[in-house]
């Protein structure tokens, strides 16, 4: 299978099964597509000699396994087997903000507000160690609500994790996702020392951010969040961070938010479409899709241009693509690993397939306090690979998104194996643009 698409002046052809990317001239763009479809290439409006030249080049690349490659034979089993290697620890089901689009129901996750006791956090790490098998690299994301509301457990869990690393020969990469409001100098220095990655929630322009992310008292949170985040990033050196925003139906011109964030000096940026049911006033609806796709093109132009100069360079998460050292086929088929390799743990110690399923009683799959883990739910998620999603089989984007987000699919379609088409449209557009930017930056 191939995917042919345009980006700026480029005619690009992705060889889906091998991942090879080719830039072609206009006649070759037509000939390769015609060959793929089994059409008569000599019916195309180009000189026969030219068509023969192109066909010969295609055959050479086909023989080398980089064009019109046959479907890959899927390896057996998911990536690395059935161990748990990643955990999202909900250290606080409470928040000092009242974000209007919060999938966590402003921190409560459709349950009572509460903080994870330090002992529960330690039990969660014990559970992770007990289920990680021979896996050396483990990940624990300190999440919420707002995790800074429970620094006691954050500190206890991290210190305990360091002990476990030594004892069991593991490497635990801690990450934290915070709204930044509670950052003090001491907390900044602590997080910069201990966290492998820090995700900072900031939506962009002050009016956009404040409209969606008020404090519990109803005031905007932009000023305080920004001041704290700037301080954290300035002191972070080369360690990983992301400024991670959300866009909604209210700011479909979100390139302006990315520009704003870059102009503030931040280089590592991510902006995600909001995940909300269609009856929300902020939801991105079918009628917004074309506008969002157009805006992604505007954003790609901005990103490509900005990356050409050192003082404006930026990295946009959804335009990152690794075409030389990316994941293996098994990983691409297994996907995100929710419910199998990745679980979320609530303040009470309950286990869910991922942070987005927390609070959905049907998806509760165990407890780190009892060690119980529901085999049926685990099997259901293990059987949610790319190969289990009929809608993905013939999609050119399948090895980039791995069949999409199970929580998205469940929210909109009630079935973790039926991808949500609106998200698919966004993913496909972002992937084309990412490949286009890659082509523009790597042209020979």
């Amino acid at each position: 299978m191939i995917h042919a698409f345009r980006f700026h002046e480029y005619y690009l052809i992705l060889d889906v099964e091998s991942g090879a990317l080719h830039s072609v001239d206009e006649p070759a763009y037509a000939v390769v597509q015609a060959m793929e479809k089994g059409w008569d290439i000599f019916a195309l409006p180009y000189p026969e000699r030219q068509i023969r030249e192109i066909a010969a080049e295609v055959e050479e690349l086909r023989a080398a396994g980089s064009l019109c490659s046959p479907e890959l034979t899927p390896p057996k089993g998911t990536a690395g087997g059935q161990v748990i290697k990643s955990m999202c620890l909900h250290v606080a089901h409470d928040c000092n903000l009242r974000c209007r689009y919060c999938f966590a129901d402003t921190g409560e996750f459709h349950g009572p507000r509460g903080l994870m006791a330090p002992e529960v956090g330690k039990k969660a790490l014990d559970f992770l160690i007990a289920h990680c098998g021979n896996r050396k690299h483990l990940e624990v994301d300190l999440f919420g609500g707002e995790p800074l509301l429970n620094m006691e457990t954050v500190r206890t869990v991290v210190a305990y994790g360091r002990e476990l690393e030594q004892k069991h020969g593991k490497q635990i990469n801690f990450t934290i996702t915070t709204n930044g409001v509670g950052l003090t100098d001491a907390i900044i220095d602590y997080l910069n020392a201990e966290m492998h990655n820090i995700v900072l929630s900031l939506d962009g322009r002050p009016e956009v951010h404040d409209a969606m992310r008020p404090t519990a008292g109803g005031k905007g949170s932009y000023d305080i969040a920004l001041a704290n985040m700037k301080k954290l990033v300035e002191r972070r050196g080369d360690k990983e961070y992301y400024i991670r925003g959300t866009f909604t139906a209210r700011n479909l011109d979100f390139t302006e938010d990315v520009k704003h964030l870059r102009n503030l000096g931040f280089e590592q940026l991510s902006l995600e479409p909001v995940v909300l049911p269609d009856d929300s006033p902020y939801a991105i609806l079918e009628e917004h899709v074309a506008r969002v796709l157009e805006e992604y093109e505007t954003l790609a132009d901005y990103v490509l241009q900005s990356r050409q100069k050192e003082d404006t360079w930026l990295n946009f998460f959804h335009f990152m693509i690794d075409l030389s050292g990316g994941p293996c086929l098994k990983k691409r088929i297994a996907g995100c690993g929710a419910g199998v390799e990745y679980v979320a743990v609530t303040p009470e110690g309950d286990i869910y397939p991922c942070h987005q399923f927390v609070g959905q009683e049907k998806m509760k799959m165990g407890s780190v306090l009892t060690g119980e883990l529901d085999a049926d739910i685990r099997r259901m998620f293990a059987a949610c690979t790319l190969l289990d999603k009929p809608a993905c089989r013939d999609c050119w984007c399948k090895y980039f998104c791995s069949g999409g987000c199970a929580a998205n699919a469940y929210l909109y379609n009630g079935d973790i194996r039926q991808p949500y088409s609106r998200t698919c449209e966004f993913l496909k557009k972002r992937t084309e643009l990412a490949l286009g930017i890659y082509a523009a930056e790597h042209r020979k």
Binding site: S18, I54, P75, S86, C336, T423
Partner: protein, 47 residues
């Protein structure tokens, strides 16, 4: 080649010696609401 320029060679490693699972879970980076697998580094190659 005159008409086709390869920008990147085949990159999907389907060999038997893969699937160690040491790579990052894709939702643990910056998204948390979507699945973006193709930008994850292969931990074996990163070593």
């Amino acid at each position: 080649m005159k008409h086709i320029t390869t920008i990147e060679k085949p990159c999907i490693n389907a060999s038997a010696n893969t699937g160690c699972g040491e790579c990052q879970a894709s939702c643990q980076s910056a998204c948390k609401t979507s699945c973006t697998v193709a930008n994850q580094k292969c931990q074996k190659q990163a070593k």
